[in-house]
């Protein structure tokens, strides 16, 4: 530690800061290697067209995974992501100009969609913290409720988004960069700031590291836990709206697959599922790895379903490897 302090006190690029933000070298190196590999293996990978589609694919996953990072740092988990995305996409499309009803709230509909996510997050947090139900169980239930609400709103046919200025957010680009990616960058920036400069962000690490100590220090940990869940829900809400913008419809299955990929992205980036270690910057690297892998494997013709299997293995392996040294003969892990 002291040696790296000396190194970082030298003028110029602060290596330690970069490391703290985006994780140690491993994931970054993996990302670079993957990009290099696919550039060689497929002629279409390293092109402008594919670059823009990579950015679009990355943006929604990144927002979901950033949100998820906040609860994973607590050592908790949010399994309701897909249900929340479904609900918020339908709330958003049904309140904006659409082909189902006469509503035309414009940007207010976006806010309503995002707030739907925040509400789910609040519900998750309150149920988890105040009724003391394990978070994965709560969110398993609320995720089903989210899918249910979406199914009720869906009513048999996907409502189409008709607001042209909003649709442009989903399809358009600014100077060659998809607008969805710009939204994702804004979310990332806000998340980085929240994590580094607010109590929710900083206490999150301490709660994940050792909740008991925080409680004994007189911190109202319940409040910060609930707030973390609200952050995750809000991000899922944003992602739901983004997915609706991208597809031009609200749909029950709009979040399908995101839960899995997001958990894998967070874990690959270097945030530990046991809590206390990691950050949204690392999640950016993890999400980029997943996106490059998904895109590249399809370009070189690998069955996409194999990826689901591999992601499952990655989650288990990552947790098993990071926790291997903590194993004890008399430890009871449920």
């Amino acid at each position: 530690m002291s040696r790296s302090d000396l190194v970082s006190s030298a003028p110029g690029v602060d290596l330690r800061k970069i490391q703290r933000l985006f994780g140690t070298g491993g994931p970054l190196v993996a990302l670079v290697v993957l990009v290099a590999f696919f550039s060689l293996a497929s002629s279409t990978f390293f092109t402008l067209g594919n670059g823009s589609s990579l950015l679009t694919q990355l943006s929604i996953l990144l927002v979901v995974a950033i949100g998820l990072t906040f609860v994973i740092i607590l050592g908790s988990l949010d399994l309701s992501i897909e249900g929340v995305m479904a609900s918020s996409s339908l709330v958003f499309v049904l309140l904006a100009a659409n082909d189902r009803n006469d509503s035309d709230l414009g940007f207010l509909a976006v806010i309503a969609g995002v707030l739907t996510g925040s509400l789910f997050g609040l519900l998750n947090g309150v149920l988890h913290v105040h009724l003391k139900i394990p978070s994965f169980m709560v969110t398993l239930g609320t995720g089903a409720i989210g899918i249910g609400i979406a199914t009720v709103l869906f009513g048999g046919r996907a409502p189409r988004l008709m607001d042209d200025s909003l649709r442009d957010l989903g399809f358009g680009s600014l100077g060659g960069i998809p607008k969805l990616a710009i939204i994702a960058v804004i979310v990332l920036t806000i998340a980085l700031l929240v994590q580094r400069f607010t109590r929710v962000g900083r206490y999150g690490y301490a709660i994940g590291g050792d909740e008991q100590v925080m409680k004994l220090s007189g911190v109202n940990i319940n409040r910060y836990k609930v707030l973390s869940f609200v952050l995750t829900g809000t991000a899922s809400g944003i992602a739901g709206v983004m997915a609706a913008l991208q597809l031009g419809v609200g749909d029950v299955t709009i979040g399908g697959g995101y839960l899995f990929t997001a958990i894998t992205a967070v874990v690959l980036g270097g945030t530990a599922l046991v809590g206390g270690i990691g950050g949204v910057g690392r999640t950016l690297v993890g999400a980029a790895i997943i996106t490059v892998l998904a895109n590249g494997l399809i370009l070189i013709g690998v069955n996409p379903y194999v990826q689901v299997a591999v992601q499952g293995l990655v989650i288990v392996l990552a947790v098993a490897v990071t926790g291997w040294s903590l194993r004890k003969r008399v430890r009871a892990i449920k």
Binding site: L74, G75, S76, L77, L79, L127, H128, L131, K132, I133, P134, S135, F136, M137, V138, L140, G141, T142, G143, A144, I145, G146, I147, G148, I149, T151, V152, F154, G155, E211, Q212, F260, L273, G275, N303, Y305, V306, Q307, V308, A309, V310, Q311, G312, L313, V314, I315, V316, V319, A320, G323, W324, L326, R327, K328, R329, V330, R331, A332, I333, K334
Partner: protein, 328 residues
């Protein structure tokens, strides 16, 4: 029946307050009330053809729920169980034309293996079960999708080997549900009468004590997950038989109702409290609720909301807060 629904674990510890007894009896009261309400709405609800339909729907959910009960009793959870049952329908569809009836034995053995594998990872690597089984969920669903090329495979050649599960009736009732109920009863009797029958409960209540008194908690945990895998495979047999096909997502929608059945029956997810008979009551509640909701005019779209609310609500009622340390 009444003897079975008593809270085994609390009686075993020698204290059972009135509140505990009430909560323990609640699922049965809910079931009876539900049946009464729905019968009032639909006089032919308890008619033969209706009951037959109910039981046909009950079989796969009950089998999955019984399997899950073993794991939940130890205080863990297996989120991959429904996906494993989907995988088993795919394997059946692929193998029945090739090896015929052998597949009927082989497939549950393979899912027993997947369960044991999960258990080994949980027990040896000491990773929380919900994370391992979340990963397993992705793994097995990826395998099922790859093997089936993401499409439903119709079973025609070799179907007679599993056809009896759907077609056979005993006293007019579908054999699949009767077998499932019989398995629940057998498991409950085994828990009650075998000398080591309460090991799983003890595991959920006081794992360290069990370990200190010379038991291999590792083996017990692995066995519990193995049972869950085995029952998922059995549920897959019923599903493949009733749908005449194998599909990579065929059983996935049963995950929520099956977990809901376990928790609403009164099995505490903290472990140690519950048993297969509670799960049977829970599965009956879920089935009656499903039919009852549509009978009183609630659209099917609300089903998911109900399952979600049931899972959260039932867990709130049954969770044992005295044994919770830090809840993650």
């Amino acid at each position: 029946m009444t003897a079975q629904t008593e809270p085994m674990a609390t009686r075993w510890l020698g204290d059972s307050s009135l509140k505990d007894r009430l909560i323990a009896a609640l699922p049965l009261i809910v079931l009876i009330a539900l049946v009464a309400v729905v019968s009032a709405q639909q006089p032919n609800f308890l008619g033969m053809s209706n009951v037959r339909g109910l039981l046909e729907g009950l079989a796969p959910i009950l089998l999955l729920a019984i399997g899950q009960t073993f794991v939940i009793l130890t205080g863990g959870i297996d989120l991959s169980f429904a996906v494993v049952s989907s995988l088993s329908t795919v394997l059946l569809a692929l193998w029945l034309p090739e090896i015929g009836p052998v597949a009927v034995v082989l497939v549950p053995l393979i899912t027993l293996g997947t369960g044991l594998l999960t258990g080994i990872v949980v027990a040896v690597a000491q990773v929380p079960s919900f994370i391992v089984t979340l990963g397993a969920m992705g793994l097995w669903s990826g395998v099922a999708l790859t093997l089936s090329s993401a499409s439903t495979i119709r079973i025609s050649e070799g179907y007679q080997a599993i056809g009896w599960i759907t077609d056979m009736r005993i006293a007019g009732l579908p054999v699949s549900a009767l077998i499932a109920i019989a398995l629940a009863v057998i498991a409950a009797v085994a828990f009650k009468t075998l000398s080591r029958g309460r090991t799983l409960h003890a595991m959920g209540l006081a794992e360290k004590a069990l370990l200190m008194s010379g038991n291999s908690t590792r083996m017990i945990r692995i066995a519990a997950f193995g049972m869950c895998g085995l029952f998922s495979g059995l549920a897959g047999l019923v599903l493949a038989s009733s749908q005449y096909s194998g599909g990579p997502t065929l059983g996935d929608t049963l995950m929520l109702p099956a977990i809901a059945a376990v928790v609403i029956g009164g099995n505490a997810i903290t472990g140690g409290v519950g048993g297969p008979m509670k799960t049977l009551v829970g599965a009956l509640i879920i089935i009656v609720l499903r039919v009852g909701l549509s009978a009183i005019g609630v659209p099917a779209a609300y089903e998911q909301i109900v399952y979600g609310a049931i899972i959260v609500g039932a867990v709130v009622l049954t969770i044992d807060r005295s044994r919770l340390g830090i809840v993650k």
